[in-house]
Each structure stands twice: as C-alpha cells, then as structure tokens.
Amino acid sequence: SQKIEQNSEALNIQEGKTATLTCNYTNYSPAYLQWYRQDPGRGPVFLLLIRENEKEKRKERLKVTFDTTLKQSLFHITASQPADSATYLCALDSQRGGFKTIFGAGTRLFVKA
C-alpha cells in the first residue's frame, strides 16, 4: 500500500532563513501531490498542488519541487517568519483518477525570532 514519510522530528530554524521540508512516498506514482498547513486544533489549509509533469511550483515565499524518480517532494519557505510556525502536511491521491487523499503525519516547523 502507499506510504508517505515526512520527517517526524520538528524543524527549528531562525527567522529569515529558508525552511526545507521533505516528503517521500513509496509503492505508488501519484498524479499530483499537495501541501497543507495545519495549526493546532484547526483544519488543514491548502498551500500548493504540484502535478506529476511539473518539476517546480511557486507561490509567494513558498516553493514545491516534485521528483517522480526519487519519489520525493521538497517544500521550501523562504525568508521564514515566526508566523510560519505550524505543522506542514504532505498529501497525495492514493489512486490515479480517484478521490481518496492520503496524508503524511506532518512536520512541525518552529521559526524563532
């Protein structure tokens, strides 16, 4: 079955630096991959979607890469701010053409002022 791995250890970085989060997946080739942000006690908030034929996607200070050979996506936040502190979730469609989304456990990011 499909498996998504995100670094379970929290990532601590200094304000202004670039945060890089990793999502690896196995046993599957998703048509697209999504990144969400989740704050404690809140629902996930969509950030970016990248399709299998795209190498990179950007939105303001966010950048996502998708390497289908390595089965890996990297999520970058440049010029990080304390307000970026949250848990970041990677998600993929578990069946091509289907609507069952599988989420990773998330990586907790702390940005220190």
Partner: protein
C-alpha cells in the same frame, strides 16, 4: 471568501449513541469529503462523495458510518453507534476536483 462550515464545534455523546455531524461545503464545489484526526495523529481519509454517491471510502468507513447530502447545501456524517475509539476531530472538506481541498474548522467528537 467562501469557506466550509461545520456544526457543532464540539459534540459529547455516550458510547452507543448515534451522532450526526453537519457540514456546509463551499457552494460551487462538486466533491465532498470527511476526514478524522485522532489527537496527535495524522489526518485520515474516511470518504469522498460526488454526484450524490460515495466515490471512495477507507477501511475505517464501515457499516457504522454513513454520509448524506440531504439538500443542496448540507453534507452530513452519521455514526450509528459510537465507540470510545471514535473520539477524534472530524473534518469536512470540499473541492472542485483534483485541486485544492478546503477544510472546515472541524467537529471535536468526544465519546464517553
């Protein structure tokens, strides 16, 4: 900006009771979802719904669960006979398709 709403925000029930969690998806969205998140764990897919029928469901979504879109706006999740292990946050989400899913604020279900 349109958003997904969910009621109630917190539901406390006794084991064995039926609960109905309610959601109002974004009005022009076509796909609807329910997820759950047990405290400290990951978001788990329960079911997706399109064109008035279930598209996909997970192994969690057994006979105790059902979904319904009783009118043009509401989307409900019913748990027939709640168990202690059903205690979790339940999130509703909606989307236009294989793009962004917009999540509601969640209903915290506590089964005693």
């Amino acid at each position: 900006e349109p958003e997904v709403t969910q009621t109630p925000s917190h539901q406390v029930t006794q084991m064995g009771q039926e609960v109905i969690l309610r959601c109002v998806p974004i009005s022009n969205h076509l796909y609807f979802y329910w997820y759950r998140q047990i405290l400290g764990q990951k978001v788990e897919f329960l079911v997706s719904f399109y064109n008035n029928e279930i598209s996909e469901k997970s192994e969690i979504f057994d006979d105790q669960f059902s979904v319904e879109r009783p009118d043009g706006s509401n989307f409900t999740l019913k748990i027939r006979s709640t168990k202690l292990e059903d205690s979790a946050m339940y999130f509703c989400a909606s989307s236009m398709g294989d793009i962004a899913q917009y999540f509601g604020p969640g209903t915290r279900l506590t089964v005693l």
